[in-house]
């Protein structure tokens, strides 16, 4: 846990493992329990808005927060610090969750949204500055694979949730991520086994990674149907086995029984 005592997690794993499902549902659970929650989506193919039940803006709002100097470097505009960026450029999700997104890439790639990418990176590196954020829970959803951890895209987190489904590709990806995590600053690792369909599958993941699962989220048709219809699992499948498992994950994260 951070010195603040607030939950500060980033969620990583292979593509399709269920990172956004876990991150979005966890954010909603925490908010429903009364936490102020900042949800961060640093994927330029964003998925967290759907899992939260929020509407994603067409253009990255953070484009308006950035300006490019004569030297070509991007900066936050004068007067825009992390708190103001959140107030102005996040979108409201249900239960009062604030969602700050790096924004979608375009048909012309990342170039047209580089201002937003740079603004997002600067904001997430300054989230420890405003004291008004001290008690906020932060849940970040990272893009697939180890890339963003190699480039310091989760500086706000004191714990990384490795979301792993019982496949070799997912396990190997988690191991690659685990090897990078913890540089340049300490980062506790917790395993979330997702889409679990058998105890043997869970044991295989735990054995391979040498960690016990903090949460086991079962394969769940209700969640699959929610995602098929574009609805947030927390809204469309309340009380389902998967959503209940993520509620227990929230218990485990907030119980104070975790050791870093």
């Amino acid at each position: 846990m951070s010195e603040r005592g607030a939950i500060r997690v980033a969620v990583a794993g292979k593509g399709g493992a269920g990172k956004s499902t876990v991150a979005g549902t966890l954010a909603r659970v925490l908010a429903r329990r009364g936490h102020s929650v900042l949800a961060l989506d640093s994927d330029t193919l964003p998925g967290l808005a759907l899992s939260l039940g929020a509407t994603a803006p067409a253009e990255p709002p953070l484009l308006a927060a950035a300006q490019q100097g004569d030297d070509g470097r991007w900066r936050l505009k004068k007067g825009i610090g992390p708190m103001r960026a959140i107030e102005r450029y996040s979108v409201q999700a249900p239960d009062g969750v604030r969602l700050l997104q790096v924004g979608k890439h375009t048909d012309d790639g990342l170039k047209p949204v580089m201002g937003a990418v740079n603004a997002f990176y600067k904001v997430i590196h300054r989230l420890d500055e405003p004291s008004s954020l001290d008690r906020w829970a932060i849940v970040g959803d990272l893009p697939a694979g180890p890339r963003q951890l190699a480039y310091d895209w989760a500086p706000y987190a004191d714990r990384l949730l490795l979301v792993v489904e019982p496949t070799w590709q997912s396990m190997l990806t988690a191991r690659r991520i685990a090897r990078i995590a913890g540089t340049p600053r300490p980062l506790a690792l917790s395993l979330v086994v997702n889409k679990a369909s058998s105890p043997a599958g869970v044991s295989q993941v735990e054995t391979f990674l040498g960690m016990s699962a903090l949460a086991v989220v079962p394969a769940d048709d209700a969640v699959a149907r929610a995602e098929h219809s574009g609805a947030a699992p927390f809204d469309a499948a309340p009380g389902s086995p998967a959503v209940s498992a993520i509620e227990r994950l929230a218990d485990a994260l907030g119980s104070g029984s975790l050791t870093a």
Binding site: K14, P146, A150, L172, R176, I180, T183
Partner: protein, 103 residues
Amino acid sequence: MKIVVAGKGGVGKTTVSGTLARALAQEGHRVLALDADANPMLGISLGVGPEETDVLVSVRQGLEDGDSEHEPTIEGFVDRFGTDAPDGVRLVVASRIDKFDPG
């Protein structure tokens, strides 16, 4: 034929690519399987084996570790950095992110 496979994470790009490469090879085509994902897993779908796939030397790593002279030809790259997969498929991994490297 030259085919690129794309899509969201988890939809099965690697499964389709690896299986297609094997099927083409079994029909007698010479097949080059190129894994351009920074989190490369194509070896698993090709049948190279998970742990073996995890330690394949990537082109980038090979160039960084080896002599500074670059291979002048594509054939040279494939010979030097490729791995043999079943049915004669030749697998080349472009790069793999495996360390903290803030740029």
